[in-house]
């Protein structure tokens, strides 16, 4: 049997003493009565249920609405660690925007021989209608979520860049509200950086990219696919918190050359549309012709400077898993700096030698579909059965270009509050980044997802993952 790689626990040293980030929290925790904490954990769940913070699971009629399990032990990062991390995130997000600007214009990176042109040309996420067009303020990805994992005291690695419509920010905000409700005394004693300005910053950030046609205070609206979408709660939450309208395709019509929403007083033009809808569904005249969720004709008005769409169409190319392996080059090419954050070593199965290596080492690797997301269509070699491995081998041989492979990372752990007390579980971290023409704003912390099953590495909520409140604490 293969021995498990040693992994880094963020709360405890190997001798069981708390690490610096957790010293104040750990002291508090030791003084708590376990029964009392158990009650608090139930209260937290009740709080989520009462406030309706739920998500829908596709194809699961029985439990149409579910709660994401919430763990009461926070993820804690020190200000010093955060400074370094956020510099790395900012660098990466700048590079992503420069990359998008480039590939939809002169494609210098291809000319320089740093990126094969097929990766763009054959990529479904590349939107040719964006060629030659610069979005207002030059911003492509107004909202980004960078998925990170920690592998050591000073080592954060980027697992994935979410440059389309990253979700989860409502959980970041509600987790904090819940924690402050449950444990006010912790927040009086430990200086945790505030996250609650996110909706205000989001609105300000979107207002700064208003289109040329906007006069006066920009009208912002959130476009949702509707009440049955798994992230509907978040769409409604963000619209509510920003003071924006929450619209669906059928609330919208094009009136006098503007995208306008049907209000009780008549049609009102929208300046900035924060869409939580994939490119494919956005405009049936350009993309999927049978989409009823989108707005026919919006793309033309977008290009004419009559509305801003956030994120811009075609940003998906930047978080494509095939492009991912080129990210270190991309960062260096556009910033002229060495990447601060590491990438996970990645084998592109489209390349013959890599495929051979991957097939030889399948049981040690994580194999992902290039276009997959949400933890679906993925093989975790060390945890897979012989049959799974054989199935995946066949898939790989049939369509190698559809896959990439990565080593199984020693993801860090943080304890959860389990029945038997503290018990370590693997976690990741998704900080949320707002990009406007003059500013990159990163909310301190982000969303920590935790694989609740012991030993599991899959943190996705659709596959039994939970969340934790994530703290950045001031250094003393």
């Amino acid at each position: 049997m293969a021995t498990k790689p040693p992994c880094f626990d963020e709360m405890l040293n190997e001798d069981g003493t708390p690490r610096a980030a957790y010293s104040a929290y750990h002291k508090w925790f030791e003084e708590q009565d376990v029964t009392h904490l158990k009650q608090k954990a139930r209260d937290a769940e009740e709080f989520f249920r009462r406030t309706g913070i739920t998500f829908a699971v596709y194809g699961d009629d029985e439990a149409e609405e579910r709660l994401i399990p919430f763990d009461i032990i926070p993820r804690i990062v020190t200000a010093r660690e955060w400074t370094k991390l956020s510099r790395g995130i900012e660098q990466r997000v700048r590079a992503i925007n420069a990359f998008l600007q480039d590939i939809y214009h002169r494609q210098e990176i291809v000319r320089a021989g740093r990126l094969p042109v097929e990766l763009l040309e054959k990529n479904e996420a590349f939107v040719s209608q964006m060629i030659g067009f610069t979005p207002p303020g030059g911003v492509y990805t107004h909202i980004v979520g960078i998925d990170l994992v920690r592998t050591g005291p000073d080592e954060f690695v980027v697992l994935e860049d979410n440059a389309r419509t990253p979700s989860g920010v409502s959980y970041m905000l509600e987790n904090r509200e819940t924690m402050m409700n449950m444990f006010p005394e912790l927040f009086s004693n430990i200086r945790v950086r505030n996250v609650s300005d996110y909706p205000k910053n989001l609105r300000a950030s979107l207002s700064r990219v208003a289109p040329a046609a906007c006069n006066g205070d920009p009208v912002v609206a959130v476009l949702t696919p509707g009440i049955h979408n798994s992230a509907y709660f978040e769409h409604a939450f963000l619209a509510d918190q920003m003071g924006a309208e929450l619209v669906e395709g059928h609330d919208i019509r094009i009136v006098d050359g503007r995208v306008a929403m049907r209000t009780t007083r008549g049609y009102q033009p929208i300046d900035v549309l924060y869409r939580r809808l994939d490119d494919d569904y956005l405009d049936p005249l350009i993309f999927k012709p049978d989409s009823v969720l989108g707005i026919p004709g919006i793309f033309d008005l977008y290009r004419a400077g009559r509305i801003t769409i956030a994120n811009a169409p075609g940003t998906g190319i930047a978080d494509d898993k095939a492009i991912y392996s080129y990210m270190p080059d991309i960062v260096e090419f556009y910033t002229g700096e060495k990447p601060i954050l590491k990438n996970v070593d990645t084998w592109r199965c489209s390349e013959k030698d890599s495929l051979a290596y991957v097939l030889d080492h399948l049981s040690e690797l994580v194999v992902k579909e290039v276009h997959g997301s949400g933890g679906y269509g993925m093989l975790i070699g060390p945890a897979a059965s012989k049959r799974d491995l054989a199935d995946f081998r066949a898939k790989l041989i049939a369509k190698p270009a559809n896959y990439i492979a990565q080593p199984t990372l020693a993801l860090s752990t943080i304890p959860i509050f389990a029945n038997s007390g503290l018990s370590p579980r693997h976690v990741d971290l998704r900080p949320f980044v707002l990009v406007s023409p003059d500013k990159i704003d990163i909310t301190p912390g982000g969303l920590t997802r935790v694989a609740l099953r012991k030993g599991s590495l899959v943190v996705n909520s659709s596959q039994g993952g939970g969340t934790k409140d994530s703290w950045v604490i001031e250094d003393d």
Binding site: R49, R50, T51, G52, I227, L246, R262, T264
Partner: protein
């Protein structure tokens, strides 16, 4: 505010009001079953008629036994208008209007939905029926409390009230109609002293029992009750009262939007009509005809509001 949002708030409170009416009718029916030995099934039938559900009920059920009717009204899948579905629809509308209702109101609706769903998971045993009805009434009352205490008095509030009173007026007119039309087939009874049971159930099912007793101790006549339920401006469920509220809220909307409102003019016309009526004149000209016409204009007013404020595209 989006037209869709206005529609959502309007329907949220229509569904809530409808659910409350069902709960009250069940309460009355159950009380009737316990206190009277005769005509039990008639009472349940008249309740179903008042809700416009009797034909659909009879299509799937043989008789009007209490347990079956109660289950039909509360949770039977054969009945799309059952109370559980109404609360579900109310919550669905609240979810789509999160940007226009307060957090307190949303949480009250959500909690109401959670509790009612829990209570109605299984068929309610007779022993648990009073507690269940009580729970439903308290939960919906909390929603109303949250609305009153936390909502800005803006267009959203007005749409909630318009939905509420359109539904209430509709439900009241149906209940009065059923009592007079079904239970008193012979016109000669009207105007004579009513039998104790009949007037008690009319008043109970419309929440008017104690109010009426305070105002008219010891006197119950068809005329007095008709006057009270249709024309009394103090009783918060009378048709006249509903129209007072409808004109107030529609006027507020028209003023804040600065528009000439056809729906306001229509509500004012209907409201003014009540001032020129007496119970005698209504009974003389035919109560049933009066109520049928009222239901028509009330429905029409709802359609005018929906169109005027762009609920649909």
């Amino acid at each position: 505010m989006l037209g869709k949002t206005a529609s959502g708030i309007f329907w949220l409170f229509r569904y809530l009001e409808r659910a409350e009416n069902i709960a009250r009718l069940i309460e009355t029916g159950h009380r009737f079953t316990l206190t009277r030995n005769r005509g039990r099934q008639d009472e349940w039938r008249s309740i179903l008629s008042a809700l416009g559900m009797d034909a659909a009920y009879r299509a799937t059920h043989e008789d009007h036994n209490a347990a079956q009717v109660v289950d039909y009204l509360l949770r039977d899948k054969a009945n799309p208008g059952n109370l559980r579905n109404l609360i579900d629809s109310a919550r669905q509308n609240a979810r789509t209007t999160r940007t226009a209702i307060t957090r307190e109101l949303w949480e009250a609706v959500n909690e109401c939905w959670i509790c009612v769903n829990d209570a109605l998971k299984r068929q309610v045993r007779e022993a648990d029926l009073p507690a269940t009805i009580d729970l439903i009434e308290r939960q919906t009352a909390q929603v109303r409390g949250a609305l009153e205490n936390t909502m800005l008095r803006n267009d959203g509030y007005n749409f909630s009230r318009v939905g509420n009173f359109i539904e209430r007026a509709d439900s009241m007119a149906r209940q009065i109609d059923v009592k007079y039309y079904v239970l008193l087939p012979s016109v000669s009874f009207v105007g004579s002293s009513l039998d104790n049971i009949q007037w008690e159930t009319i008043l109970r099912s419309t929440s008017a029992y104690s109010a009426y007793r305070w105002l008219y101790p010891g006197r119950a006549s068809a005329l007095g009750i008709a006057e009270f339920l249709i024309l009394d401006r103090r009783f918060p469920r009378s048709l006249s009262f509903c129209y007072g509220k409808l004109t107030d809220n529609l006027r507020h909307l028209a003023m804040s939007y600065g528009v000439q409102s056809a729906s306001l003019a229509e509500a004012e016309r209907i409201y003014a009509g009540f001032a020129s009526l007496t119970a005698e004149s209504i009974l003389e000209d035919g109560l049933h005809e009066f109520l049928i016409e009222f239901l028509r204009v009330n429905r029409n007013l709802a359609a005018m509001v929906e169109q005027e404020y762009r609920f649909h595209h």
